[in-house]
Symmetry: C2
Subunit: 388 residues, 2 copies
C-alpha cells in the first residue's frame, strides 16, 4: 500500500426531504446565489423549494451552466458573485453545475487571469494561489460525477477539458435526495451508472499494491452498480435502487477508494477528447473507451483483471486469458444493457476521425497516460481503433 | 436505506515516516500537551520523535492515561490544559489515549461538573453545552478502536463505562504509521482485530434495509480482517498485513459503513460490564459475547446472518440454519485462531457471576439493547449463559 493523505470535510445529508437542513447550514446573514443548468430544475419546482428553504436570505439566480461547463459561462457567474457581494453559492444540479460552481468559487476573487487556474492539471490549487474562495453547498439532481463530495472539477475552454483541483473547493454540504433524480431522462441515468463504474475502474483496475480493503470496497461499488443498474434505468421511481445508485456514485469518487493505490484515468482523458470534438456525452465516451482500453492493456492490468473477473463477475472457469476476456465482454454487455452504445462507429465516427483525436491528445499534453504513464499517443490510437 | 447524515473532517496521514506533517498541521504558535499511556511510547522513542517534529513549540507531557481511561485521570489532564494555557493536544497512543483526550478537550472549559458530560449516552454534546473545546491531533500506536477517525469516546467512572459523543471532538488529524504498531504485544494486536471485526458486525449484522453498498463495504472489511488476521498477529513486521489491519480498524468505525443502516451495539454494552467488573480486555469481552449473541439472536438477524455466511465465509451448502450455525462457528474459530479465548469459563468466570453482571447492566440503564431495542436483561442473561 502506498502512503496516502485523506481529507474530506463535506457534510452529506442523504435521503428524502432533507432541504430543511439548508436553513441551519447556510449562514443566516448570507446573500446567496443559486447556480443551476437548464430549465428542468426550475420547471420541476426544485429551485422554488430551495428558495423557500433559504427563508429570508437575499437570493440571486444564475441559470445556464451547460453540460461540460464552459469557462466563459462560469466567468459571467463569477462577475455576478463579485458585483452582488454574494457570500454563499448553492449549486442545484449534477456534476456540471457543481464542477462549474467550484470554479466560480475559485475564480471570483482570483487576482489575475482566471485562465491560469486551468493550467494546474492534477496539482492542487492552494491558498497561496487563490487567497479568497467563496463557500458553497450543493443539492444533487444527477448521480454520476461524484462532484458533490470531492473538491475536483473539470472545466471546458476552447477545445479542451481541464481538471481543476483544490482542497478549498469541497462543498460545505451536499443534499442527496434520490427522489430529485426520479424525473431524469433514461440516458442520463444510464450515463451516470457508467460514469460511476468507470470512476471505480480507474482507481481499481491498475496493478496490485496489497491494498486489500480498498480493492474490496471498489469491488463492492462495482457489484452494487451491476446489481441495480438495469433496475434503476427502467424503474426510475424505485427508491431503493436509486438510493444505491446515488450513494455508489458519490462513494466512487470521494477519495475513499483512491487511498494508497495507483490510479489510471486514461479512459477519462481519451474520452474528454471525444466529448470536446464530437459532443458525445461523458458517460458514453467512457463506455466506448473503457472496454477497448482494458483489452489493449490486458498485460499491464493482468493481475487486477483476473481479480475483477473472479470477484465482480464470479467467473471461475477457464484459462487466465479466457477469464479476462469474458470479464471485458461482460463489462461491455453491462454498459449495453443500460442502453449505452459502446462502439465509436455507432456514434457515426470513422477510422478517419482518429488521427485528429490523437492530435488533440498531444495538444493537451496527454502523451503519457495511465497508472504507469506509458500510454503514448500510439497506444491511445490503438485503443480508439479497438473501440471502432 | 434510512435517511442519514455523514460528516467526518479528520485528516488522515497514512504510511511510513509521516511525523513531519505535524509541523504544518499544529498551529505554529501553539503550546502543546502530549498525552500518552504507559511508558512504552516513551521507551520506544516515539514521544521524543513527536517532540522533535513539534520543533520550537512549547511542549508539556501528560503520561498515564490508562486502558479504559478513567474520569479522574482525565480531569487531572484537563486541569493542566487550563492552568498551562495549552492550545493543542497531541494524543500518542491507541483508543484509550485518544478517547481520553477527546474527553479532556470537552471537559477543560466545561462550565459545570464535568460528570454531566457522561450522562448524554448516544446523544451528541453540542456547542450549546460546551462552548469552548480544545483541538487535538493523534499519532496512532494501536489499531483497534477506530477513535483516530471519529468523534466518539468511552470514559470509565466508578463501575461504569460511558459513551461520549460530539461533532466537536474529531481529531484535526491522525497519523497512522503501521510501523509504530510493530512492537505491540501479540494479545493487543489480536484484541485489535476482534475489536474492528465486532465494530463492523454491530453495524452490519442487524436487519436488511437494501443498503447494498454499505453491506458490501462491511463485508469487505470483515473479509480483509479474516485474510490478514493470523498473519499480522504472527508476523508483526509484515508491513502489508499490518497496514491493512490499521486501515480496516479505522474504516470500521469512521461512520462510513454506518450510514443509513440500523446498528446493534449490544455486544459492546454487555462486554463493557465484563471489563468493568472483571478487568477483561475490551477485545476479549467482544470475542466472548459476540458468538453467543449471534446464536441467541439468530431469528432476529436471520437474513443478514445468511448473507454473512455466504459472502464472508463462502458457505454455499446446507440448510439456512446449518449455514448460519457454521458462520457463527467460523466467527468463534477466527477469534480463537488469533489466540483469544471465547468462553467466560476460560477467564475464570462461573455461572454464579452472571446475576451481578445483569444487575450492573440494569444499573447502567442497558435494559433495551440491540438494533430493535428488544434485548432485555433476561436476554442478556441468556447470552452470557451461552458464553460460558
Amino acid at each position: 500500500m502506498f502512503n496516502f493523505d485523506f481529507y474530506n470535510p463535506t457534510r452529506i445529508l442523504f435521503g428524502k426531504d432533507r432541504l430543511g437542513a439548508i436553513d441551519t447550514l447556510v449562514p443566516a446573514d448570507a446573500k446567496v446565489l443559486i447556480t443551476f443548468g437548464g430549465g428542468s430544475a426550475k420547471k420541476s419546482g426544485l429551485i422554488d423549494k430551495v428558495k423557500a428553504a433559504l427563508g429570508r436570505r437575499q437570493v440571486e439566480e444564475f441559470c445556464g451552466i451547460e453540460p461540460n461547463p464552459r469557462y466563459e459561462t462560469l466567468m459571467k457567474a463569477a462577475a455576478i458573485v463579485r458585483s452582488q457581494n454574494i457570500d454563499f453559492i448553492l449549486a442545484v444540479g449534477g456534476g456540471s453545475v457543481i464542477d462549474g460552481t467550484k470554479f466560480i468559487c475559485l475564480a471570483t476573487y482570483y487576482d489575475g487571469d482566471a485562465r491560469d487556474l486551468l493550467k494546474f492539471g492534477f496539482r492542487h490549487i492552494t491558498s497561496e494561489v487563490v487567497k479568497k474562495v467563496v463557500s458553497f453547498g450543493a443539492v444533487l439532481t444527477l448521480p454520476a460525477a461524484g462532484s458533490e463530495m470531492n473538491s475536483g472539477a473539470v472545466v471546458s475552454y476552447e477545445h479542451g477539458k481541464f481538471p481543476v483541483l483544490s482542497d478549498m473547493t469541497f462543498p460545505k454540504f451536499s443534499i442527496l435526495d434520490p427522489t430529485y433524480t426520479f424525473t431524469l431522462p433514461k440516458i442520463q441515468v444510464a450515463n451516470g451508472i457508467v460514469d460511476a463504474f468507470v470512476h471505480v475502474g480507474e482507481q481499481y483496475l491498475t496493478f496490485p499494491v496489497a491494498a486489500k480493503l480498498q480493492d474490496r470496497m471498489a469491488e463492492g461499488i462495482l457489484q452494487t452498480l451491476v446489481e441495480i443498474g438495469v433496475t434503476t434505468v427502467n424503474e426510475p421511481e424505485n427508491y431503493d435502487a436509486r438510493a444505491n445508485h446515488v450513494w455508489s456514485a458519490t462513494m466512487a469518487l470521494n477519495g475513499i477508494i483512491a487511498v494508497g493505490v495507483p490510479q489510471d484515468w486514461a479512459t477519462h482523458m481519451i474520452g474528454h477528447e471525444l466529448t470536446a470534438r464530437f459532443g458525445i456525452d461523458h458517460g458514453q465516451t467512457l463506455a466506448i473507451v473503457y472496454p477497448a482500453l482494458l483489452d489493449v492493456r490486458k498485460e499491464q492490468k493482468r493481475a487486477k483483471l483476473l481479480q475483477y473477473a473472479e470477484r465482480v463477475w464470479h467467473i471461475e472457469n477457464g484459462s487466465e486469458d479466457e477469464k479476462i476476456d469474458l470479464a471485458i465482454q461482460k463489462t461491455r454487455a453491462f454498459f449495453e444493457s443500460l442502453g449505452i452504445k459502446t462502439r465509436l462507429s455507432e456514434y457515426g465516427i470513422t477510422a478517419d476521425d482518429i488521427p485528429a483525436l490523437i492530435d488533440q491528445l498531444k495538444a493537451h499534453g496527454m502523451v503519457a497516460l495511465s497508472e504507469t504513464q506509458d500510454i503514448t499517443p500510439e497506444i491511445s490510437q490503438k485503443i480508439l481503433e479497438k473501440a471502432m
